[in-house]
């Protein structure tokens, strides 16, 4: 849609645009260009000279088995967070949609984790799973399950998956519930009259009509797992034990900020940039579909 009537003038609109343009130039485009440029440079260990090396940093980074492990770990983490955050959310949304009385206080409680910072979610779950003081780890120990995320890498991985998913269920719940409530009730009633049971109604009516929301949420949950879980990891495991919970975003920060390996960190930044662009394009394609159907 386009507007046909405009206000005259040039000065005012440019003045209105100036702050946003200035900020995105200084803090977005210039640094992004520098990240691209830095990813082609190699600094000698003493930091005395810089040399143009082309794509060598990418070769080193992508050829490094440790980095490939980080990619595999990030994939596992993202898929696990997405599944663990979406399945309970759709179940809860289906139930909340059925409950008529008292639904509002339920919803209020269920959306609370959305407001909680990832780092706080990490701290809360670290406390529950702490081998010496944690309540959950105590009862797991009673059941014969020794749980120690400080020593066991896979325990640590599940700790950050659970903490990240716990926070994200709320977000998915809001969207699934909105999606469910936009399905015309007449459709479901018609199926009911035709004798379709709840399970059949779910798979033949609700699930297909919910699929645009589902695809959209898969992309959003991936973006969340890739980029916004930094706080969870920094608070709960610091990437450890060893490197067992170090996902890509954590490694970029660690290599660039702590280990000060600028060229390789920049190359990793560029790889992540490509991933965000891919995910954003996907997201907007699905939204296009959402608009059309």
């Amino acid at each position: 849609m386009e507007r046909k009537v405009f206000f005259p003038g040039m000065l005012l609109p440019y003045a209105l645009l100036a702050p946003q343009i200035l900020i995105i130039m200084v803090f977005f485009y210039v640094p992004a260009a520098q990240a691209l440029w830095m990813s082609t440079l190699l600094q000698d260990p003493l930091g005395l000279s810089v040399q143009f090396v082309g794509l060598e940093n990418f070769q080193i980074v992508l050829g490094d088995p440790a980095y490939r492990q980080t990619i595999a770990r990030t994939m596992f983490f993202s898929v696990a967070v997405t599944v663990c955050a979406m399945v309970p959310a759709v179940l809860l949304a289906l139930m909340a949609d059925r409950v008529v009385r008292g639904a509002t206080p339920y919803k209020t409680i269920l959306i609370i984790p959305y407001a909680i910072a990832p780092a706080v979610a990490g701290a809360l779950w670290l406390f529950l799973f702490n081998p010496s003081v944690g309540v959950v780890s105590y009862y797991m120990g009673r059941l014969g399950l020794n749980w120690d995320p400080k020593i066991d890498g896979s325990h640590a991985m599940w700790l950050i998956i659970i903490a990240s998913a716990w926070k994200q269920i709320a977000y998915n719940f809001v969207f699934f519930l909105a999606g469910l409530q936009s399905i015309p009730k007449s459709l479901i009633e018609a199926a009911q009259i035709d004798g379709a049971g709840p399970r059949r109604r779910f798979w033949t009516i609700i699930f297909p009509l919910l699929s645009p929301t589902t695809f959209f949420l898969i992309v959003v949950n991936f973006v969340y797992a890739f980029f916004e879980t930094f706080g969870v990891i920094h608070a709960a495991t610091q990437g450890g034990p060893g490197k067992s919970t170090e996902i890509m975003i954590y490694k970029v920060w660690y290599d660039g900020f702590i280990a000060q390996d600028i060229g390789r960190s920049a190359a990793q930044s560029v790889i992540l940039m490509a991933i965000v662009i891919g995910l954003t394009v996907l997201q907007f394609r699905f939204i296009e579909r959402k608009v059309h159907y």
Binding site: L12, P13, L92, M95, V99, T108, I112, G197
Partner: protein
């Protein structure tokens, strides 16, 4: 409503739905409840596995300790009250700043025939694909060069640009009928008057919905404050809480950490619960 009630009657009683929702609520609330209990007892009670699951006798003692003094180990000298104030100022500047800047840009793009309009729009739009995480080191360098390390300006200004909010306002402004603009022109009302008399009042619900989301976004910022604040007096509360957890193997004052966790989550949770209707609307609309 009656049809829906009838539907659930036909299938099976609502008991199953209530049970599942209650399990969801338990999972949601359990970590927060345990944190609250831990913040009301001393550390010996916490260390005695299993720790109690009902509030202890310390009452608000731990809270007044952390608010006034802070943690015992690495954050000595940074009272939680100060860190919360920093977070509050940061969240407010980010939320209000993003709204103001996006209102201005969207207004210029929609209501004026600016040359390069679509180029500018795309320039703003593409920043969606450049989150701070993918340009950490160079952005940090820019901020350092500008002398903005450890300042509130450095904490907030780089985060104030907003493609999402600009898109949302643009979308909304496009639905304002041309007749209104024509009427304003006939009445000799300029663009500034039109903005304040017509556009802004029409935008209030969108602004409220965005505010909820952006306030939470600002309050919960983590990576950026971690990079640019080294000065303890500029630490935000979300960073502060991680610093209180001793990862080197030393003892952690869990009751203080959990009291701080509760204090950290209260403001954004309060905003969401209080403005729930707007929050849901805003969330669903910003992502469309």
């Amino acid at each position: 409503m009656s049809a829906r009630a009838a539907r659930s009657h036909l299938d099976r009683p609502d008991i199953l739905a209530h049970v599942i929702i209650w399990i969801g609520i338990l999972i949601t609330a359990f970590p927060i409840w345990v944190a609250f209990v831990a913040s009301t007892v001393d550390n010996q009670a916490i260390a005695q596995a299993p720790m109690p699951l009902l509030p202890g006798n310390l009452g608000w003692q731990v809270y007044s300790d952390v608010l006034g003094v802070g943690g015992n180990n690495r954050t000595v000298g940074t009272p939680v009250a100060l860190m919360m104030w920093n977070s509050f100022v940061m969240a407010m500047i980010i939320a209000v700043g993003k709204i103001v800047i996006s209102l201005m840009s969207a207004y210029a793009i929609v209501f004026f025939r600016v040359p390069f309009r679509s180029f500018i729009f795309w320039m703003i739009f593409v920043t969606l694909m450049l989150p701070v995480e993918v340009r950490i080191i160079p952005t940090l360098k820019v901020v350092t060069d500008l002398g903005m390390l450890n300042t509130m300006a450095g904490l907030t200004i780089p985060l104030i640009a907003s493609a999402t909010a600009t898109l949302l306002f643009r979308q909304f402004f496009l639905t304002i009928p041309d007749e209104l603009v024509e009427a304003a022109k006939i009445d000799n009302a300029g663009p500034v008057k039109f903005f304040f008399d017509v556009v802004l009042p029409l935008s209030t619900t969108t602004i409220a919905a965005l505010f909820v989301i952006l306030f939470i976004y600002g309050w919960n910022q983590y990576l950026w404050p971690l990079l640019i604040t080294t000065d303890q007096s500029m630490t935000t509360i979300v960073i502060g809480i991680t610093k209180m957890i001793d990862t080197s193997g030393g003892p952690t004052d869990w009751n203080r950490v959990m009291a701080t966790a509760i204090l950290t989550l209260l403001p954004p949770v309060f905003v969401v619960v209080l403005l729930q209707k707007w929050f849901v609307k805003g969330l669903v609309e910003t992502e469309k």
